[in-house]
Symmetry: C2
Subunit: 691 residues, 2 copies
């Protein structure tokens, strides 16, 4: 192997360092950075106001961080690791959270049922419970060895133990380094650290990464309502009928999503309105808007010969077709500009956002890894940036109109926290949906556990309840045409879940404000804030199930935190009971406002949603009368309730309002701070918990 070069880290913000690894300094630029293709500017002001932090690799027992480069053929980055560390991240995972000892070749792909590195978000990024995070900023697929690969020159090699003649043998031999390798000569390595006194070091390290990524975003308020995707066969009249049916059933509806059938060609796509089936799409959108309903359009970016985009974009497309469509080169500014103009037009006509399908992969129909593109990007690197560049392109189109968007996408990557998209896929496992809702935080992203179908009313209700506690509450009925009232016997339950979602919108909005202002993921696993929930599963030898007697760290994967103060614990579709684990401290039932134990098991009716409030918190909710109801939990505490116009980018320019609340012993005081925006709620009421 080639010479070791000690990585030279320079401090670029408090608690953020960068080392440039570049075999060929002539090339530089975009080719060596993944995030440069789409990332927003770091939140410089925020970052500069954070406390400094110690460099996490100082004094590592195994030595300093280093790299070994083989010119343009390959690079290995070695990052110190201590024995006791727990590591998280490496893309969007659905089953387990801790990635210690994992070896993963990250690449953009649909989730195939295994957390094996093929992921919708192949972010070359991980977080350590020692309070730091690492980003290997390259568009090449990165292979990570999370402390599993012991080097021959290790300073502290593990001891040799005879598996059958001595005690204490383990199939795991811990290494002093995380090793990351990729097939190119250069990249930037970033390290993000939490300050020394952080109580949630993983969360705070990840938050600096998110602020460096541009901060999180605040969705438009309509994005937090109910989304319904209609059948791919629907035409304009069907859409009107859908809106009317929701009204008739007295169910709130905020977004209608059109599937591929809105276009003149689909698979490949034209991205042009089909005037035959949607003869008046502009007035249709105006009509819907008058009822508070927005339109979202399905897309993929394999362009049909029938598209108005075909001729202009054709010179900037790759060597292979997908579903008979040509594939725009998203490394080409010309291609991005052509798509951007088109999306600006669609947005200006009234479209609220897009569902960007099939940009993740599924090898059997995406372009091959060796496909070539005019910009010089190869198929495999194009795949790494595709979803994120499309998000950025669309976000920019809406930004130019001064309107926020909120969309769905199947692929993203590192450094995309600021892009207002939520990941979805074709999986439909409830436990994996639940875990994904939490674990997306480890890549600075959001995940939607959408509702599609159910075999029982109970499953239907439990799935709606999970979706109601997620970034988007959505029924995706593109194939089945299902409605929320599919099971008449629980129509009331579903209606109450949809209204519950409306009632917690202010709390979700507050959580997103933390995402934007502080980089704190609005939905995140317990372990990100609190390490105490995990349990160790001992490694019992079993010749058919566990021949290597491997132990496991079982993090809590069926609960998650929302914002600073809420904890959700959705009930499984086949169950009426579940165990709830709450971190140390006081917790209150969101609905009854009664104090609960930190660990208990109980039954939940179909309309009961396990949601808990941290003691000392003020949770803003919306009363049925439109009043802002502030739920104060515990004997005393405080809270800040954020609001803005919910549509524009005024909030980025400082136009928002804060209601600052202090409460104690059943009495509350508050002040309103208006920064160029008056809070939009009606009356203001306080509700206090009962201890």
């Amino acid at each position: 192997m080639n010479e070791k070069t000690i990585l030279q880290f320079e401090r670029i913000f408090p608690g953020i360092w960068r080392a440039r690894v570049c075999a060929n300094t002539d090339t530089g630029g975009m080719g060596t950075s993944l995030t440069a293709f789409y990332k927003h500017e770091p939140r410089t002001e925020k970052l500069d106001s954070l406390p400094e932090a110690g460099f996490p690799f100082d004094g590592a027992p195994g030595g300093e961080a280093f790299c070994q480069s083989d010119g343009d053929a390959g690079t290995v980055i070695c990052l110190p690791l201590r024995l006791s560390e727990r590591l998280y991240g490496l893309g969007l995972n659905y089953q387990r959270l801790c990635v210690n000892y994992a070896a993963r070749q990250l690449r953009c792909d649909h989730y195939g049922g295994q957390d094996n590195g093929r992921t919708h978000i192949p972010a070359p990024f991980y977080v350590s419970d020692r309070g730091y995070a690492v980003l290997i900023d390259t568009p090449e697929p990165v292979s990570f060895y999370m402390g599993s690969s012991v080097r021959r020159d290790a300073v502290n090699p593990p001891p040799e133990i005879h598996r059958f003649r001595e005690k204490g043998w383990s199939a795991v031999t811990p290494a002093e380094y995380v090793e990351a390798s990729f097939a190119a000569g250069g990249c930037d390595v970033y390290v993000f650290a939490a300050s020394k006194d952080s109580k949630s070091p993983m969360r705070d390290a990840a938050a600096r990464y998110n602020l460096w990524s541009g901060g999180g975003f605040i969705p438009p308020k309509w994005g937090l309502g109910m989304w319904q995707r209609v059948s791919g066969y629907a035409d304009g009249e069907d859409v009107r009928a859908e809106a009317a049916a929701f009204e008739e059933h007295d169910m709130p509806l905020s977004v209608i999503g059109l599937e591929p059938g809105w276009q003149t060609a689909a698979y490949p796509s034209s991205l042009d309105w089909d005037e035959k089936h949607f003869p008046d799409h502009k007035s249709l959108m105006a009509e819907l808007a008058s009822k508070g309903i927005r339109l979202n359009l399905w897309e993929n970016f394999f362009i049909s010969e029938k598209s108005t985009l075909y001729d202009p974009v054709s010179p900037y497309c790759g060597s292979h077709k997908v579903w008979n469509g040509i594939v725009p080169d998203l490394g080409s500014p010309e291609a991005v500009e052509i798509l951007s103009r088109h999306h600006k037009k669609l947005a200006a006509e009234g479209v609220s956002g897009f569902k960007v399908d099939e940009c993740d992969g599924f090898d059997g129909w995406l372009w091959p890894d060796h496909a070539s593109f005019p910009s010089g990007l190869r198929g495999i690197t194009m795949r790494a940036i595709y979803g994120a560049v499309l998000q950025r392109m669309q976000d920019d189109a809406f930004r130019s109109l001064g309107r926020r968007t909120y969309g769905l996408v199947r692929a993203s990557n590192a450094g995309a926290a600021h892009l207002p998209y939520v990941i979805y896929n074709d999986c439909y496992s409830f436990p994996q949906f639940l875990t994904g809702t939490a674990s997306a935080a480890f890549c600075g992203a959001l995940w939607v556990p959408e509702v599609r179908d159910a075999s029982t009313p109970r499953e239907w209700a439990r799935r709606f309840a999970l979706s109601a506690l997620s970034p988007i509450l959505m029924l995706n009925a593109w194939a089945s045409g299902a409605k929320p009232w599919k099971f008449p016997e629980i129509e009331d339950t579903i209606r109450s879940i949809l209204r519950f979602r409306q009632s917690i919108a202010p709390a979700l909005y507050n959580a997103f404000r933390g995402w934007y202002e502080e980089g704190i993921p609005p939905f995140r696993p317990l372990c990100m804030d609190w390490a105490g929930g995990a349990s160790e599963k001992g490694g019992e030898l079993d010749d058919t199930e566990n021949p290597y007697s491997l132990g496991e760290l079982l993090d809590v994967t069926d609960e998650y935190l929302i914002g600073r103060d809420l904890l959700a614990a959705p009930v499984a579709p086949d169950s009426d009971t579940r165990r709830i684990i709450l971190p140390p401290g006081e917790w209150y039932d969101f609905f009854t406002m009664e104090r609960v134990e930190n660990s208990f098991t109980r039954e939940f009716a179909l309309d009961e949603i396990p949601l808990y409030v941290r003691g000392g918190a003020v949770v803003p909710t919306l009363g049925e009368d439109g009043a802002l109801v502030l739920r104060c939990c515990g004997r005393e505490g405080e809270g800040i309730i954020y609001d803005d116009d919910g549509e524009s980018f005024g909030y980025e320019r400082g136009e928002y309002s804060l209601i600052k609340v202090i409460f104690a012993d059943g009495r509350a005081d508050y002040t309103v701070e208006s920064h160029g925006y008056e809070p939009g709620y009606g009356d203001l009421r306080f509700v206090f918990s009962r201890d």
Copy 2:
């Protein structure tokens, strides 16, 4: 993408062509060939005697085979494909056989529950039902796109159809080419074709490939008996007790396998006998041999500091350790020579063979892909050759002693048909074990569906029955210490299955002769000989299970052929009944000798093993009295019964015997041809089928 270069194929044998793709002709040699690391010499004489065949790519509608090379950075090979073709292969698969439209990045790894390219045998090889096979001979991991990637410059692009507004849309857009790509500048491409009049074109194309690989092998006769692996904690006395227990239970035993505990160090391994627990291993082996029992030793090749091999091999090891052991560089002739000397010594002392564990992968503990080795091979390419080079090294050690070996290994690769090893792993799914037994033929390999455990007596019996119809009948009780008589209530059933295995040994031996002489895989799927068994499953839209409405070709995966004349259809562990499908023509029940229908469903008792004989065949079996019982099925037919000394390499020098049988209407004639070897059976009896 770079310029297309038409591949220049030269005929090297009848029906075999090679095109050399080499960007850098200076390097050449081993670095550009996978199989050169371990392959045997082609069976020149056999190959030259085969009829010529038409070059399969002549007149392909999409154009000629070509490559595009990007210097040492990458190569794409494009091989013509017709719409109607069915493709098979791409490594050892356990679930489906047909690989049309698959995109697979092949790499050596354990089977993780999905046929996704990570496989014990990442052979860059496929077979077409048009009667040809292709090998991309490179040690680099190859990505295959099996007709799923449509190029923009396609001559016959598929039509555009609106998914929701027209009929006939399909998620699959068939391409004119198979595309194969890898990250290096050169390789050899081989094409193997069946002759024009072949009735089983896939089988015959694969057979030429196997003969090119050196032909299959004939195992030592003891290899076809019962194998029992003892607990890893066993010492010499335990081994004696094990042999005695089999005698006591009147169960045949041919091989005892020792697990890691035979060594002074294990995980990492010393590969040195532990004299404390095996103080007299040489006399132990002699004792066992006197009872007809051989010893097989478990190994992995991560070398302990305590090993006598450590100092000599240390200069020829890689940059990383595995389980605290150093990793010999198998691209280094010095390292291979050191290991070879050691194995020759172990073999000379009486060991019959080895079980080579953990050479396949499992990323979490193998060396990383970027590991470096003194020979210049990188970790990822080392992984591709590791298992096959170890097989070759051991086979050579036994060859130098004039004795055949037969062993177990977890990894192999293309062109290894001549190496006398059977693949195993940690999976324990019965249907996947069954499919693997058949599908291994598509990479010129063998698979063992070993018995490890069972939760019911029925499962125990069904698993033994499957293993009895496989390359090795084995109980692998290394962890549980289980014995065949684990369930006393079916001890008689298990005994009868073990004896059944003894009785069919001559038939299996005959099948292996076809493997050696003709390259015909002794165990292979029905579709290799007969295309008619497959069924199409229509693609029904299902938003949770099949959102792309994909159809499937369902080959028969739960039956397989043994040699030319037998068809096995093992019964599932949780079932008493199964459906049997037999190819066109007459078939007979092996046991009752009665004619059966070509398709039927029936019940099978635990000691009934669904095994069928082709009409017109003569199947050699061993009677309980030691007589050679020749089962003649149908009104008339013929057969050739092969025999040799079962131990030496005399058969390769032409020392064997053939009994040639012709039968009709209940009468048979035979002649014996002895080529320096007299058939070793006692009496000879004929049994005739009843129509």
